[in-house]
């Protein structure tokens, strides 16, 4: 009985869909395209309701529209924009140095099993140590300069890059290496024509987490290391003077920065590692 009923409804639904195919497909298509907007919209509505009904004090949570205005005017040449650029600049410099120092080392370690085994523990240990725990140490070494924020972010990103590049080389498909070997490729040719390419997929995982890590550390460092600029500085400053509108706006722009960096790296990855997942 039950089986019959299900098959009936299934058939009914199926034929219904088949009849109204052109119209329903295009409607469904429009609707699906709007789905990603649902989350932010719901969030804004809840935020608005919470503020409107005074569930949270206005001093702790400003109304969403005003916060958005602060964000937009701030980003369009206001005070926020400068801090945004400073944070982006620090993150990218830290990241670039980490790539320049980390990628060659990671690939070299990955292609030399003994070297990798001898440093594996050290890399794993510091990779697992929260980089923010090292901020005081870096303060001692570099003082409260701009270099300090970049140096510590660079260190955290560097470890991730070293680890992932080495991992990518170590896990290169053995058969591709064999294929090159059988064609008479030298060790150097196998390295540059196979190993480096094979490692790219894992390397990009490392690059993406490294840029996120660099951003996190830069923002934290800007908060606590006598800073004059940057989003971290902006957030802590706004909080100190209870300018919550600006605080929320600065938090959001930090979010925008992190999200944009992630999207950009995914796009670059898709372009360079075009064979990934195929």
């Amino acid at each position: 009985m039950a089986q019959e009923a299900t098959s009936n409804t299934a058939a009914g639904a199926w034929s219904g869909a088949a009849h109204g195919l052109p119209a329903s497909v295009s409607k469904a298509g429009d609707f699906t395209r709007l789905l990603p907007a649902a989350g932010p919209l719901v969030l804004l509505i809840i935020w608005d309701i919470v503020v409107r009904f005074g569930l949270i004090k206005a001093i702790l949570l400003p109304p969403p529209l005003e916060t958005m205005q602060t964000l937009i005017s701030g980003m369009l040449g206001g005070a926020l924009l400068h801090d945004f650029w400073v944070t982006l600049y620090r993150t990218l410099v830290a990241f670039a140095v980490a790539v320049a120092l980390g990628m060659p080392l990671g690939i070299a370690l990955g292609s030399n099993e003994r070297a990798y085994q001898s440093v594996e523990f050290v890399v794993d240990f510091f990779r697992s140590t929260p980089a923010s725990a090292l901020i005081p140490l870096f303060l001692l070494i570099f003082g409260t300069s701009d270099i300090n924020k970049i140096a510590i972010a660079c260190f955290g990103a560097w470890l991730l890059i070293v680890f992932n590049c080495a991992y990518g080389v170590i896990n290169a498909r053995k058969q591709r290496i064999a294929a090159a070997k059988v064609m008479g490729a030298s060790r150097w040719q196998i390295f540059k024509d196979v190993l480096i390419w094979e490692s790219l997929q894992a390397s990009f995982v490392g690059l993406r987490s490294a840029v996120s890590m660099a951003l996190v550390i830069v923002v934290v460092a800007e908060m606590f290391i006598g800073s004059e600029s940057g989003l971290g500085h902006k957030i802590i400053n706004a909080q100190q003077v209870m300018n919550t509108k600006m605080m929320y706006a600065a938090i959001m722009s930090a979010g925008i920065l992190g999200y944009a960096l992630n999207i950009a790296f995914l796009a670059i990855e898709r372009k360079i590692v075009h064979w990934s997942g195929r």
Binding site: V182, M183, G184
Partner: protein
């Protein structure tokens, strides 16, 4: 007065005299020994592979068919023994190798055409020479798909065709094929098998084929090398001389059926041992 105590003792073990294979031998294997985890896989194994013939290797599971061609191709190190190609060592010999898993044989970061050209570039050939050879290959394989695509954009059969073209590009003296059809559908298997036979009739490249399909092994072969269970030795070498090109009609020839039957009997005898 001075006298060395416990002087190292040297015993001159004369190296066994190298015994060349019969006339027309291409690859001579002498005293090949390979242990896996303390157990002998090959021990003092001798084999002659004739020049310009296709040798199919067939034997029980785990007897080391692929290991044998991998050792000859230099992909797996041998414990001891000697393998010579027309008296030369492997490093002076051009070989081609076709893997079963075509997905992990081609390099997806390059276009298919660059994959096929890679062994030629490794040999330091000029752009003109490479282009000329590629044209030859495309013509002889009658390629109908776009070689400017990346390997992952091609079907399995097309990828394996490209793998074979890459292996043949440098005009190898020996072509190794490790179950080249196992991952393909039947239609593609037939197509590539015929292409392979065509190429062989044109070039007479020595080929070693590992196959788990007895019909296919016999169909392509001049010799069927039947192996025993490990420690592996030669159970028998059967000759199969039907004229090429062999076709579907060949499959019902008495000589084909007889060779296949005999191979099967030897195989079953070895498995039961």
């Amino acid at each position: 007065m001075t006298k060395v105590i416990n002087a190292p003792l040297f015993i001159d073990v004369p190296r066994p005299q190298f015994r060349p294979g019969p006339h027309g031998t291409h690859i001579t294997i002498r005293g090949l020994t390979k242990y896996f985890a303390g157990w002998p896989l090959y021990e003092n194994f001798d084999l002659d592979i004739p020049k310009g013939k296709i040798v199919s290797i067939f034997g029980p599971n785990g007897c080391g068919k692929s290991t044998l061609i991998n050792m000859i191709a230099g992909l797996i190190p041998i414990d001891s023994g000697e393998i010579l190609f027309d008296g030369k060592s492997l490093k002076d010999t051009t070989i081609g190798y076709v893997f079963q898993n075509y997905r992990e044989a081609l390099f997806p970061w390059w276009r298919t055409i660059d994959n096929i050209a890679y062994p030629l570039k490794l040999m330091g050939k000029s752009k003109a020479e490479v282009d000329h050879r590629l044209e030859e290959l495309v013509e002889s394989f009658d390629v109908k798909f776009d070689l400017n695509r990346y390997p992952y954009e091609l079907s399995g059969g097309q990828q394996q065709t490209a793998s074979i073209m890459r292996a043949l590009a440098p005009n190898p003296e020996v072509l190794f094929l490790d179950e080249p059809f196992s991952a393909l559908d039947f239609e593609m298997t037939l197509f590539i098998r015929e292409k392979l036979q065509e190429v062989f009739m044109k070039t007479h490249t020595t080929m070693m084929l590992v196959s788990h399909d007895l019909e296919e092994a016999v169909y392509l072969a001049d010799q069927i090398l039947l192996l025993t269970k490990r420690p592996t030795s030669i159970a028998d070498i059967l000759h199969y001389d039907d004229a090429r090109p062999r076709t579907t009609a060949t499959l019902s020839e008495p000589s084909f059926i007889a060779t296949k039957k005999q191979s099967l009997e030897i195989f079953q005898r070895e498995v039961r041992k």
